[in-house]
């Protein structure tokens, strides 16, 4: 690197002072040469260093070195519980035509083992990712999710097809093992049973903004509650949703959303008692429209949730259903209000919300409280209050208070204690106690926000 400088000095000495113009030209030329030399030397140094780096260590094929060991990724969730409940003939949600309490096989009193979730997922090829979630229970395997999703569309678009948990609301996409409480909240229990799953397609688009802004649309068979299997072409259900989210400083983050679901129930089963305690069997046909608003806020000091963190989540819904309710006596020998068959207009305009807060006050330990509240609103049958006809639709605003404490020895295991004061049915005021375990084996499933 000394050489160009020496050359310049030699040239400067050798040329008489009056040859200024020539000297300037030479100086420029030398400067250019020097720059060119340095660039080449730097490039050579960089190449040398790269070569050294490459030579200094064995380079096994990187793909196998740093990616997960298994393909597809396999994980298994084991869940079970002990429930201390009163002996009640039936459990339901008063004032609501609610989804069947589908509870993974568990749900009874005393000890029970919930279905075990087996999850397989992997890239299918450079264009798709596949996912299966199957629940293994006594004598049956239920497919909770089985879908493929595009990875290669770009521009913020993804398309998912198959059976998947709908993107509506906040809790809907979570499987039961990811819930913060041992039992489902009343909102989802009344609206969907556990959560709403589509057999269909989902299109999502993420806006190119620094604030999270996502829109989604789904078309599905609509066989799940509040819809029914209608054996038709076209879409039995349509869902639309939008989510927005961001951070406030390093410690806070949030997400809010608005969703809409349309379903077409045709002969949806409705079993209940009329006001004279006579069992009735009926069905509902018409239209069902649900709005859901959701909000989640999470806090952790400096955004580091390992020691302490806090989560607040709330969802509000409004559901309007209108159509025809047909009913008949469940047992012809025991005639009641529906004797001989009755079909009349039915209309329901109902709402509700849940709000929950969960605080991790020290590593491994979390405490939480949830309040569920439903508003029966207007329910009309045959032009009069449906409560006059059916006991299960009588005017009652269900509510529940739940307190939980959980302990997680690691990210892969969790033990939970829960107390619930249940007032979901009219005239019921029940103290419930739960002990629950959740274990996760196999690959490290990443959880959503």
């Amino acid at each position: 690197m000394l050489r160009p400088a020496l050359l310049a000095a030699a040239l400067a000495a050798a040329f008489p002072a009056h040859a200024d113009a020539d000297l300037d030209a030479l100086r420029t030329e030398i400067r250019d040469m020097k720059a060119a030399y340095e660039a080449r030397i730097q490039a050579l140094e960089a190449r040398l260093q790269q070569a050294e780096t490459a030579a200094a260590q064995p380079q096994p094929s990187p793909e196998t070195q740093t990616r997960g060991g298994f393909n597809p990724e396999v994980s298994l969730i084991l869940q079970g519980r002990y429930a201390h409940l009163e002996n009640r003939a039936e459990r339901g949600i008063g004032g609501f035509m609610a989804a069947d309490g589908h509870e993974h096989g568990g749900g009874g009193r005393g000890f029970s083992v919930d279905g075990s979730e087996l999850v397989l997922s992997a890239s299918i090829d450079p264009y798709f990712r596949g996912y299966l979630n199957a629940v293994l229970a006594d004598g049956e395997v239920e497919v909770e999710e089985a879908w493929a999703q595009t990875t290669g569309l770009g521009q913020g678009f993804t398309i998912k097809g198959g059976r998947f948990k709908s993107g509506i609301g906040y809790q809907n996409e979570q499987h039961a093992h990811a819930w913060d409480f041992a039992t489902n909240n009343l909102v989802y229990a009344a609206l969907f049973g556990e959560g709403y799953a589509q057999d269909g397609v989902q299109l999502k688009w993420l806006a190119p903004t620094d604030t999270f802004l996502e829109f989604g649309a789904e078309l599905g068979a609509g066989g799940a509650f509040p819809g029914t299997n209608n054996d038709g072409n076209g879409a039995g259900s349509v869902a639309l949703f939008g989510h927005v989210g961001g951070d406030v400083g390093a410690s806070n983050s949030w997400r809010a959303g608005l969703s809409w679901l349309r379903a077409k129930p045709r002969g949806r089963e409705f079993e209940g008692h009329d006001v004279n305690e006579v069992e009735t069997a009926g069905d509902f046909s018409g239209k069902s429209r649900t709005w859901l608003a959701d909000f989640v806020w999470k806090w952790a000091p400096d955004g580091n949730p390992t020691q302490r963190n806090f989560k607040f989540a709330a969802e509000y819904f409004q559901r309007k259903e209108s159509g025809t309710l047909a009913c008949d006596d469940a047992d012809p020998a025991d005639p009641g209000l529906c004797s001989g068959g009755l079909a009349a207009p039915f209309m329901a305009d109902q709402s509700g919300f849940y709000a929950q807060a969960v605080y991790q006050f020290m590593p491994r330990w979390r405490a939480g409280y949830r309040y569920d509240r439903l508003f029966r609103g207007d329910v009309l049958f045959n032009g009069a209050d449906a409560g006059d006809a059916f006991e299960s639709l009588a005017d009652h605003d269900p509510k529940r208070h739940s307190l939980m404490l959980d302990y997680s020895p690691s990210e892969f295991s969790r033990l939970r204690l829960q107390y619930t004061l249940d007032q979901a049915m009219a005239g019921v005021d029940e103290n419930q106690f739960y002990v629950q375990y959740i274990y996760s084996l196999g690959s490290h499933g990443a959880h959503k926000f």
């Binding site: 740093t66 890239s123 990875t151 913020g156 999470k298 490290h444 926000f449």
Partner: protein, 304 residues
């Protein structure tokens, strides 16, 4: 080549400035950890637009897949992460939700630093009974400056591939950084000579690369298993070990809780040393040079 009249050229120049996209946009980098964000900035200068997903105060194993991260990943041209399963608890969600083809697995826009470094502590047996072990090996590679150089050389080439128009800028800036880095490593190694063979305790197995670089001797780990918080019983066991085999200091990263280190420091009479661990981990660690200046000086202070 036709020559434009000066006024025309001035006009064209003004138009080029005014038209959005007329000037080529900077390469958008999504860096999972601050060290890779800083490295991308060193190589790219003003020709990169770097977003760093985490801070030095956060545990890179445990990050929420926040909406803001998904939104930033959506627009990235290049994702620079450690890999080796460090981000396995959150990055898969970010990638799946981003709707961004450029940064998916197998694309040149997905860059894992651990692919360019020989990893240490590869577990012989994969069993969670051993704690949260990473199948690929220990992912905390950034604590050895030689690793920064190895990753940087590969990153500069990757950036040049993704943005050929600025390839010259990236290569020149890398050559310049690399020269200064090599000199700095020599300086750090000289300064850190007294640390050779110094017995240390670490809170989490986060420093095998730092230990092998400076010749530190790890005599105990506070976490009974990787990722498992130290309990009083495990701390007491460490204290007993230290009675037999004394250590000079107990080292933890800036994001780790102070209590286990402070307890053992008080009980066993060793110094508690907080190293920045990554860029932004303390006031001196504004960039990669500051990171190692601070790390070396803090470790040296721990000797006394």
């Amino acid at each position: 080549m036709t020559h434009f009249h000066p006024t025309w050229r001035a006009g064209l120049f003004a138009a080029a400035l005014l038209l959005p996209g007329a000037a080529q946009a900077a390469l958008k980098v999504f860096a999972c950890e601050p060290e890779w964000g800083a490295l991308a900035r060193e190589i790219g200068g003003d020709r990169v637009d770097v977003y760093t997903a985490t801070t030095a105060m956060q545990d890179p194993h445990r990050i929420e897949a926040r909406p803001s991260l998904i939104a930033r990943a959506r627009n990235a041209d290049l994702l620079v992460c450690t890999g080796a399963e460090l981000e396995i608890g959150w990055l898969p969600v970010i990638l799946a939700e981003s709707g961004n083809r450029a940064i998916q697995a197998g694309q040149p826009g997905q860059f894992f630093a651990a692919d360019f470094v020989a990893l240490r502590e590869k577990p012989a047996v994969l069993d969670r009974a051993a704690g949260d072990v990473h199948a690929a090996g220990n992912p905390h590679i950034q604590t050895d400056p030689h690793n920064i150089a190895r990753v940087g050389a590969a990153l500069a080439e990757r950036m040049a591939t993704l943005d050929p128009a600025d390839a010259g800028v990236f290569r020149n800036r890398w050559a310049d950084f690399s020269a200064r880095w090599t000199a700095a490593i020599a300086r750090w190694e000289k300064a850190a000579a007294p640390l050779k063979g110094a017995p240390v305790v670490v809170q989490h197995k986060a420093f095998p690369y730092l230990q092998s670089w400076l010749g530190l001797k790890e005599v105990a780990v506070l976490e009974p298993k990787p990722g498992v918080e130290p309990s009083l019983a495990s701390l007491a066991a460490v204290k007993q070990r230290l009675a037999a085999e004394p250590a000079k200091m107990v080292i933890r990263a800036a994001y780790q809780p102070a209590r286990p280190s402070e307890w053992i420091a008080a009980q066993a009479g060793v110094k508690a040393v907080v190293v920045p661990f990554t860029v932004g981990g303390d006031a001196q660690s504004g960039d990669l040079f500051g990171l190692f200046d601070s790390t070396v000086s803090k470790l040296l202070a721990g000797l006394n």
